[in-house]
């Protein structure tokens, strides 16, 4: 297997799906000609290979970009549009929340909206809170949207291919820091089903439920804490909606302990939903109170030490695990 970052894996997925289906097109700000030019980025080279008819650089108009996706989808195309940074979800949100998510239901199932909105997210590049703000819980709170947040290049590729083929609107959130973290990606074509969590590490003592960039944090923490004889099981949700409750509950039933880890802020974060599901369906198997490890309830600060303070770390996770295991 070859190894490369998530940006290149997404690039492969887009390329393969565009070759497979002529109705797939891309649109977004700077996706053809952008301010960066690196083969590690998701849309690198696609304009050259597919032309300006299928790789559409748009004006800086997030509502129009998202509306383009909604309209093109109901007319039978397969749009994959990019919202440059997750906080700009606000500008696109009417089209995504009130239209992409609801119009199928409002049509009584007559119309379909097969579209993918890719959003780049994550703290770690010092840009501050208007460029770094994880809003996956907002998307997950809207019935009619599927929400995917992969942690590895291989998962990103297989899930994005499934997303493009799915008949529903999908919010696909990519942590930009992962573009540059290499991982093995199978050579042959494959799909990963939407709605299946993946156990990234087996362990008997505590279940850590997480997704996206925090999976890497959890894996590092697991290695450290294993030296002290504590075995973490890491459940990578991969898809927040639909939520793979089975895998989550089975793991908690096995370990009897739960920590939920995400980079997004705490109040109203998706950890609350995971916790509630476990309380409703596996309360009797809990040996200790659950814990959440999340960003604090502050906007993401820009200064490097402040930003590092914001992003949940291995130390934060280990501390939380020890509180309920020891």
């Amino acid at each position: 297997m070859r190894s490369f970052g998530m940006g290149q894996a997404i690039n492969q997925a887009l390329r393969e799906e565009m070759l497979r289906d002529p109705d797939v097109f891309l649109a977004g700000e700077g996706i053809g000609v952008g301010i960066h030019s690196s083969p590690m980025l998701p849309t690198a080279g696609l304009l050259k290979d597919f032309g300006a008819g299928r790789v559409k650089d748009t004006p800086v108009s997030e509502a129009a970009i998202a509306g383009l996706a909604v309209g093109a989808a109901v007319a039978g195309l397969r749009p994959v549009v990019e919202i440059m940074f997750n906080p700009f979800f606000t500008l696109a949100s009417d089209m995504i929340v009130n239209h992409a998510a609801k119009l199928r239901y409002l049509s009584g199932g007559k119309s379909s909206f097969p579209l993918v909105v890719r959003m780049k997210s994550g703290a770690g590049f010092g840009a501050g809170c208007q460029h770094s703000h994880n809003l996956e819980a907002w998307a997950a709170h809207c019935p009619g949207l599927k929400v995917i947040m992969p942690s590895t290049p291989a998962d990103a590729k297989g899930l994005l291919k499934s997303a493009i083929r799915d008949p529903n609107p999908i919010v696909f959130i990519e942590d930009m820091m992962l573009y540059f973290v290499p991982g093995p990606v199978p050579e042959e074509e494959y799909l990963i089903p939407i709605g299946q969590a993946d156990i990234k590490r087996q362990g008997a003592d505590v279940t850590v439920v997480t997704w996206s960039k925090m999976v890497g944090v959890a894996l590092k923490a697991a290695e450290q804490i294993a030296r002290e004889g504590i075995e973490m099981e890491i459940v990578d949700l991969r898809t927040l909606v639909p939520l793979d409750k089975r895998t989550l509950i089975d793991s908690v039933r096995k370990t009897g302990r739960l920590v939920v880890l995400h980079e997004a802020t705490r109040t109203g974060g998706f950890a609350g939903e995971v916790a509630a599901v476990v309380m409703e369906e596996a309360f009797d198997s809990l040996k200790a109170p659950l814990r959440r490890v999340t960003g604090p309830d502050i906007p993401v600060p820009a200064s490097p030490p402040l930003e590092r303070f914001y992003i949940p770390s291995e130390e934060n996770l280990i501390l939380a695990v020890k509180e309920i295991v020891l």
């Binding site: 097109f25 008819g53 559409k56 748009t58 004006p59 108009s61 997030e62 509502a63 129009a64 998202a66 509306g67 383009l68 996706a69 909604v70 309209g71 093109a72 989808a73 109901v74 007319a75 039978g76 195309l77 749009p79 009417d94 089209m95 009130n98 239209h99 119009l103 199928r104 239901y105 409002l106 049509s107 009584g108 199932g109 007559k110 119309s111 379909s112 097969p114 019935p143 009619g144 599927k146 008949p167 529903n168």
Partner: protein, 320 residues
């Protein structure tokens, strides 16, 4: 431009059908708990839907808004399933999930009714993009009101449509009110169409109560759209007789103003011209009116007799 007798009859029929359909709705709304939700009617401004849709081909798409009934009927939607939807019945065009405010009728390419003000233009841009992408000779019409022209999404959509020369026609029905706010209170510029210049597209102002003028202007915009010459913004000056919902007391609309616009009703104008020119006889007109009356009564009967959905049906149709 000569307009055929057949086209004129089609428009007159469309005007009469929409008017009758909505007059009945006004009466039905007086009955306690008969019709759920808000009932926002286009009574008085039907010439826009009739004239624009007469200029369209079946494969052309419309995206509409709060005052959608005349647009949907003129595009060919079945009055029975529309009425059943308005009643909230299972046999409605959207199984009762939409109600009057969001009816989608993809069978006649009425792909989207959105009542988030300003929601339509970006979606119309996407549909027009699909038409351009597939190199079809079809166009998309986006009906909006004057209020929507003050939403940011309107400007994003017009700009993108113009930059990409998309086959879309933005139809603004300026009915003088956005909610309870009169036009002068929400917009400084005398015409919404003036904004077209900012996006380098033609902007035209047309009498929205003159069905034939509406038809001509829409046909011109459609010709331009399908030729690849890009979008047009047409502003139709018209007036809404009813409020923002049938329980709107309309205290902000002067009675004399309503009366003055009622005197400019689009129906007698077209009907009078057609009678004078001998395009329709009094007998033929009476027959047309009787047929329309029967269609609307049938639609109401169908809606009344249809069952409500069972509560668990609420859980269906979220995902494909």
């Amino acid at each position: 431009m000569q307009i055929s007798k057949q086209k004129k009859i089609e428009m007159l029929r469309s005007l009469l059908l929409s008017r009758k359909f909505e007059e009945e709705l006004t009466e039905l709304c007086k009955i306690e708990r008969k019709i759920p939700g808000m009932m926002i009617l286009c009574t008085g401004q039907e010439a826009v839907g009739a004239g624009v849709c007469a200029a369209l081909q079946p494969k052309d798409v419309i995206v509409t808004n709060h005052r959608s009934h005349s647009h949907l009927l003129a595009k060919g939607a079945d009055p029975k399933t529309l009425m059943a939807e308005i009643f909230g019945k299972r046999t409605g065009c959207n199984k009762g999930k939409s109600g009057t405010l969001h009816m989608a009728v993809p069978e006649v390419n009425a792909l989207c009714t959105t009542t988030v003000v300003g929601g339509g233009p970006p979606i119309a841009v996407g549909i027009a993009f699909a038409q351009q992408y597939r190199q079809g000779k079809w166009a998309t019409v986006c009906f909006i009101g004057d209020g929507a022209a003050n939403e940011g999404s309107f400007h994003e959509a017009l700009n993108l449509a113009s930059v990409w020369a998309l086959p879309v026609i933005f139809v603004c029905e300026n009915n003088l009110y956005a909610g309870a706010q009169r036009y002068e209170e929400h917009t400084k510029s005398p015409n919404i169409a003036d904004r077209a210049g900012g996006y380098a597209m033609p902007g035209v102002v047309v009498d929205g109560n003159d069905a034939l003028a509406v038809y001509r202007s829409a046909l011109e915009a459609r010709t331009r759209a399908v030729a690849g010459d890009g979008p047009t913004l047409i502003e139709y000056k018209t007036y809404r007789w009813r409020g923002h919902g049938e329980n709107d007391l309309q205290i902000y609309q002067p009675k004399e103003e309503i009366a003055a616009w009622q005197a400019m009703c689009p129906i007698p104008k077209l009907r009078g011209d057609m009678l004078a020119q001998g395009l329709i006889s009094k007998d033929e007109l009476r027959e047309m009116e009787n047929r329309i009356d029967a269609i609307v009564q049938d639609a109401i009967g169908f809606a009344e007799e249809s069952p409500y959905p069972e509560p668990p049906e609420a859980l269906e149709d979220v995902f494909a």
